[in-house]
Amino acid sequence: MRAEAPVTPKVDVRGLTKTFHPRGGPVPVLDGVSFTVGDGEFVAIVGPSGCGKSTLLSVLAGFETPDAGEVRVDDRPVREPRREAIFIFQQPSLFPWLDLADNIVFGLDGEAAAARRARAAHYIELVGLQGFEHAFPRELSGGMQQRAELARALIVKPEILYLDEPFGALDALTRLRMRAELSRILSVERHTVLLVTHDVEEALQLADRVLVLSPRPARVQHVIEVKQSRPRTLSDPELAAVKTALLRELGVAP
């Protein structure tokens, strides 16, 4: 018996191990990755490129199965992708045969058309895409497509968002703007978020905690808490110090 009521983490990652078997021989990618994420927490995962960040996120979301270890969400094991946890990838995956409004309501079901439209209108406004309801994805810029992707995810009220370098394919200016937008949207709608990124500033500006992964095979090498209040400015001396520490951890600062 424990004295305190046990706090169940939202996401509980236990000893994930995975090895790929390409032609050249086995490649261990994950080597006992363990961590927990609290409900409503924003955790960023950074690490050297090719370290297995994306594989880790795919396993968390249930798209890939680990060789050993398990992922539990709300204390239930994850075996396949679920609508409670939506994955957003670097490449937008809006359906090109649907216009923006139809893309955004794609994941909704069992609702009357009028209710769907009203909900779609709300999320289109939330991501700032009013006026583009009938545009096709090919007619939208990369940044607009990622906003729509976010709206398509948020409309189903997922508890968790898995973001795999969601702004990685955008130009630098758009990336900064999207970072601020994501911050704003998440202040309106609370979600548990796991963000994989190679952008240290992005991690520091958005996350409550930053997990630093080791080079492949990935293990959690270091955890950095980011306690600064939001909105954060990177010129803040304390944050700048955290940034230096983080870069040193990644082996790119002296």
Partner: protein
């Protein structure tokens, strides 16, 4: 001269040149059998006046419509199953790849043996000719669906028929439509050949009958021109289909 009329002239020039060379060649050779363009036009008007032109066109289109629609109805589902289930592909692909290179014309004797002389034989041949390009196109369309769309749909817990209807079919539609366009083109080529043997109506029959019954080459060439015109019209219809929003996303980025 405006740009549009310049384009029109550029497009018309080879046709006019061919008509001129044709006319001069017939006159120069003094041929009594081969018709001049004017004689062909007269033959065409003659056929239209007697109501024969419409009758033969309708007969050919009827056979193509029935055989082609049967082929679409079978090829699209079969192609989708082949594209989606590796086991179905392994099971059916050798059959498809083995039968596909056999010209539908080679099936004519068997068609007559099985279906006799009448509409069924050409319908069967049209079915065969358009079935294979559509099966192959549909299967390829499903197999090359970008994994990211399937991944997104799985994330929203789409599976079974709902996944098929909402993602697999629309994602494969552009290649299905391309297969349908090729299939219809082949069907139109084959109906003419089939009608030369198995039946007594249709544009293929018109051509072969005009030759056999008194060397009416003016009507032979008139029949050929009508075949070209109808085939062209069918292709325009299918190209319209390729320009629909549901289809053209694949060809623009």
């Amino acid at each position: 001269m405006s740009r549009a009329s310049l384009r029109g002239l550029t497009a018309a020039a080879p046709v006019l040149a061919l008509l001129a060379i044709w006319h001069l060649a017939v006159v120069a050779s003094g041929s009594l059998i081969f018709p001049t363009p004017v004689q062909v036009a007269a033959g065409l008007i003659d056929l239209a006046r007697q109501g024969l032109l419409l009758k033969h066109v309708v007969a050919s289109l009827f056979r193509v419509t029935v055989g082609y629609l049967l082929a679409v109805a079978l090829a699209v589902p079969v192609g989708m199953l082949m594209g989606w289930f590796a086991s179905v592909h392994t099971f059916l692909n050798p059959l498809v790849q083995g039968l596909r290179p056999i010209s539908p014309i080679a099936w004519i004797p068997l068609a007559i043996l099985w279906f006799g002389v009448g509409d069924l034989s050409p319908i069967f041949l049209i079915f065969l000719s358009s079935f294979f390009p559509m099966v192959v196109g549909t299967a390829a369309g499903v197999m090359t669906i970008d994994a990211k769309y399937l991944r997104a749909a799985r994330n929203f817990e789409f599976s079974g028929l709902r996944l098929f209807r909402s993602v697999v079919l629309p994602a494969a539609l552009p290649q299905i439509v391309t297969g349908m366009r090729i299939g219809l083109g082949v069907a139109w080529l084959v109906v003419v050949a089939a009608e030369m043997i198995a039946v007594s109506s249709g544009l293929g029959y018109l051509i072969i009958d005009s030759r056999n019954a008194g060397n009416r080459y003016d009507l032979v060439v008139a029949g050929m021109l009508v075949i070209g015109a109808v085939g062209f019209a069918l292709d325009i219809v299918m190209r319209r289909l390729e320009r629909l929003d549901e289809v053209r996303w694949r060809y623009e980025s």
